[in-house]
């Protein structure tokens, strides 16, 4: 999906910066989703789905089962920190443009 890979356009096409920024940010978000999946699901499955439950081996952190604490609660907090960084230090601002007239030629 690379813009430059669009074979009908010249290589030095004046792409809209909001488009390029948004696409890069979307890829980072997709990567974040994959990381979250690869952390949460295997961790919880390997630690929270015992074949037979052994009470002595079961532990909690602040009352939350430890498999859920490290598999979901901590990543949740980290995801919020990541979101903070993403929103305030990574995501670019840009002009979204003026409102096109709805009476334009393409209305009908």
């Amino acid at each position: 999906m690379k813009a430059s890979g669009n074979n009908q356009e010249p290589a030095n096409a004046p792409w809209d910066p909001v488009f390029l920024d948004s696409r890069r940010e979307a890829l980072v978000i997709l990567l974040l989703w994959v990381v979250a999946l690869l952390w949460a699901v295997p961790y919880c499955y390997l630690n929270g789905f015992p074949e037979t439950f052994v009470e002595e081996e079961f532990s909690t952190v602040w009352g939350v089962p430890s498999w859920l604490f490290w598999g979901i609660a901590v990543p949740w907090l980290l995801a919020d920190v990541f979101t903070l960084w993403f929103c305030f230090f990574y995501m670019k601002d840009g002009s979204l443009g003026e409102e096109a007239s709805v009476d334009s030629e393409e209305l009908a």
Binding site: E9, A36, F49, G71, A79, M91
Partner: protein, 661 residues
């Protein structure tokens, strides 16, 4: 106030002398109407449709963040979700797992670019964007058709959900019961007059304020509803921990104690039974729904057995086969739960009956004798599936379901088209991230505590939210507070219904009438039609819900995942891939629709019900739908001609480059 003396769900009608539920509903409706009137009054002159359906793209941080959050958090967040936590325990923390990244995925993934494309085309609705981006009227119409199809069903289901919730809350309130009695005696009596009354009360209120106030009213009420929702959770959490901690041994934390109690829990058994009065003269008061009965254990020294009479709807078929005097019952298995019930109910536990006949059924997963830990580990107890509630394949499916399919909901996309600038978007994503963190994990904690504090609600777990609200507030001597907590589910379901209503009417007025039938229509005519269609669509959904479809939750799941399977891939391609063309994106939309539908049709043949879909390799239909949609879109695009150059310039180049070329 001790636990035993205070709790009774029927006290809902009596707390503080005034029903908090009724008061809440009326006060709530009044404020919502006030907001609608203000929104209507403040509506600026200019383009009516853009204002009525999109708020003129003026939403700032709080309005945008809270309307997005409140619309995404449907009524299910405060009814179905707590009910599931109560029924399955801590595993629900994993079920909701992808909410850790839900806000950044659903708002950040397409938000900025979709807003830009919508501005460039002057689009007001999602079909508008699709139609203009590809310059294809037929693609736009296909999008409208799918939105109207899915959302109409969903709207009916949401109306039913709202009415059922209201009915639960108002049962036992004097004025309400009088109305029900009046309807029951009327010539054309509905089988469930209480539901009918709630449907009209709830439905007419939502239709009226949405029609009158349009998008601005919906946004403003969403903001209020969003605040009510988070306030409800923030108040409930410490109350739940405080109450559960009262019984904890010295040095053991509240939640730690709750979890240790859950370790010992076994799922209850459900079935039918015959009880006979132990009074030789048979003078015992009859057993009603909700009655608790204790009978001695069968062996000497064995603990007494404890049963609860549950609503007959839970086992209607078996009761019909057996006839009188069989009743539906639930047997509490865990000793800790039995003690808790006796403590909560005190003298209300009946021991003037003996057990006649009994036919019980245990859970398909988690009910083995002596088994521990089923409520604190995966896959969680399940009444119907021997693989448990959440096997690995479903864990993965739900990770897709929330974060990915949440990005593909047209109701959310419209909101992404409505914010005013990128600063608002950035701040809102973070605001919603904090907002959801304050709601969803705390809800898991609260309703795990509910499992400990209020055993025996398994057959009526849909009522756990209001029941818990009353239980918590009365036990800390603040019954009046229940009203505020109960407002949270109202808020959630109202904010979803109103936005769906506008989605459908905007599709009809803007996408079908204005853009296909009468592009020259005057502002005055469009204004009238917008009011009329919003009113008509709402009215039709309300009538559809008078005799509502049976599979409420299933319809909501089907339509929600179906919309994502149809819309996510085409919209992602449309805004991020210059090479995408109308053929490819239409193929993606139709492919997603067909693949998703085929899993449900397959379920009809393989599992005997449309709403028990076929799970390819054990995965949910949403995964199949999304994969087919993205794949079909990609392959067909590459095998068909590139889009017109001027379209690519218009939507992907800098403005000066696109016009100057």
């Amino acid at each position: 106030m001790s636990l035993s003396s205070s709790f009774n769900i029927s006290f809902l009608a009596e707390a503080g002398g005034v029903s908090p539920a009724l008061f809440t509903f009326l006060a709530y409706t009044a404020v919502v109407f006030l907001l609608a009137v203000i929104a209507n009054y403040l509506r600026k002159d200019g383009n009516f449709l853009r204002e009525y359906f999109l708020g003129n793209r003026r939403l700032g941080v709080w309005a945008f963040a809270l309307t997005f959050a409140a619309t995404s958090a449907s009524g299910g967040s405060f009814t179905g979700f707590p009910s599931k936590i109560y029924s399955h325990g801590w595993i629900m923390g994993l079920w909701i797992g992808s909410y850790i990244i839900f806000p950044i995925c659903t708002m950040g993934f397409i938000g900025k670019r979709l807003n830009q494309v919508a501005r460039r085309s002057g689009a007001i609705t999602v079909p508008d964007v699709i139609r203009d981006r590809f310059r294809s009227a037929s693609f736009g119409l296909l999008a409208v058709a799918l939105i109207v199809f899915f959302m109409s069903f969903n709207l009916i289901a949401q109306f039913k959900a709202g009415s059922m919730m209201l009915k639960t809350l108002l049962t036992g309130v004097g004025v309400f019961e009088s109305g029900v009695t009046f309807l029951r005696d009327s010539p054309a009596a509905h089988p469930d007059p209480a539901y009918l009354l709630c449907l009209f009360g709830f439905g007419l209120a939502v239709i009226a304020y949405t029609t009158y106030g349009g998008f601005q009213a919906v946004v403003w009420t969403d903001v209020m509803q969003g605040i009510v929702m988070v306030a409800g959770v923030i108040i409930m959490l410490p109350l739940a921990l405080y109450l559960v901690g009262k019984e904890a041994p010295e040095g053991v934390g509240s939640l730690e104690y709750a979890t240790s109690r859950m370790v010992d829990m076994s799922p209850p058994r459900r079935g039918v039974a015959v009880f006979r009065s132990s009074d030789p003269k048979g003078n015992s008061t009859p057993l009603g729904e909700g009655s608790w009965i204790q009978i001695p254990g069968s062996d000497e020294g064995a603990e007494p057995r404890l049963f609860k009479v549950i609503p007959k709807q839970a086992l209607e078929e078996r009761l019909r086969e057996r006839g009188e005097p069989w009743i539906a019952v639930l047997e509490i298995i865990s000793p800790g739960d039995r003690r808790q019930v006796v403590e909560n109910q005190g003298d209300r536990v009946r021991s003037d009956f003996i057990l006649g006949d009994l036919e019980l059924q245990g859970y398909a997963y988690g009910a083995e004798d002596g088994r521990k830990g089923v409520y604190v580990t995966g896959p969680g107890p399940s009444p119907s599936s021997d693989a448990g509630f959440l096997p690995l394949s479903l864990v993965i499916s739900f990770f897709f379901m929330w974060a990915i399919s949440g990005s593909g909901q047209p109701a959310s996309m419209v909101r992404l088209m409505a914010f005013n600038n990128t600063v608002t978007l950035r701040r809102s994503i973070f605001t919603v991230a904090v907002y959801y963190s304050l709601i969803y994990f705390p809800l898991v904690i609260i309703f795990c505590c509910a499992r400990v504090l209020m055993p025996g609600m398994d057959a009526e777990s849909d009522r756990i939210m209001p029941a818990m609200a009353v239980f918590l507030t009365e036990n800390v001597g603040a019954g009046w507070l229940a009203g505020l907590l109960i407002a949270a589910p109202f808020a959630a379901v109202m904010s979803t219904v109103d936005s769906f209503l506008l989605m459908i009417s905007s599709g009809l007025v803007r996408d079908i009438y204005q853009r296909n039938m009468n592009p020259e229509a005057s502002e005055r005519r469009l204004k009238r039609l917008s009011y009329l269609f919003t009113l008509l669509v709402g009215g039709a959904a309300l009538l559809g819900a008078v005799h509502p479809p049976q599979f409420l939750q299933d319809i909501i799941v089907y339509t929600g995942s179906g919309l994502a399977a149809c819309f996510l891939a085409p919209v992602v391609y449309a805004i991020y891939w210059p090479r995408s063309n109308v053929e490819g994106c239409m193929a993606g939309m139709l492919g997603g629709f067909a693949a998703h539908l085929s899993m449900y049709v397959g379920g009809h043949f393989a599992n005997g019900s449309f709403f028990r879909p076929y799970r390819l390799m054990d995965f949910d239909p949403i995964i199949v739908g999304l994969l087919v949609s993205f794949l079909a879109g990609y392959l067909v695009t590459l095998r068909t001609p590139p889009p017109p150059e001027d379209l690519v310039r218009k939507y992907f180049y800098k403005p000066e480059a696109s016009t100057g070329a």
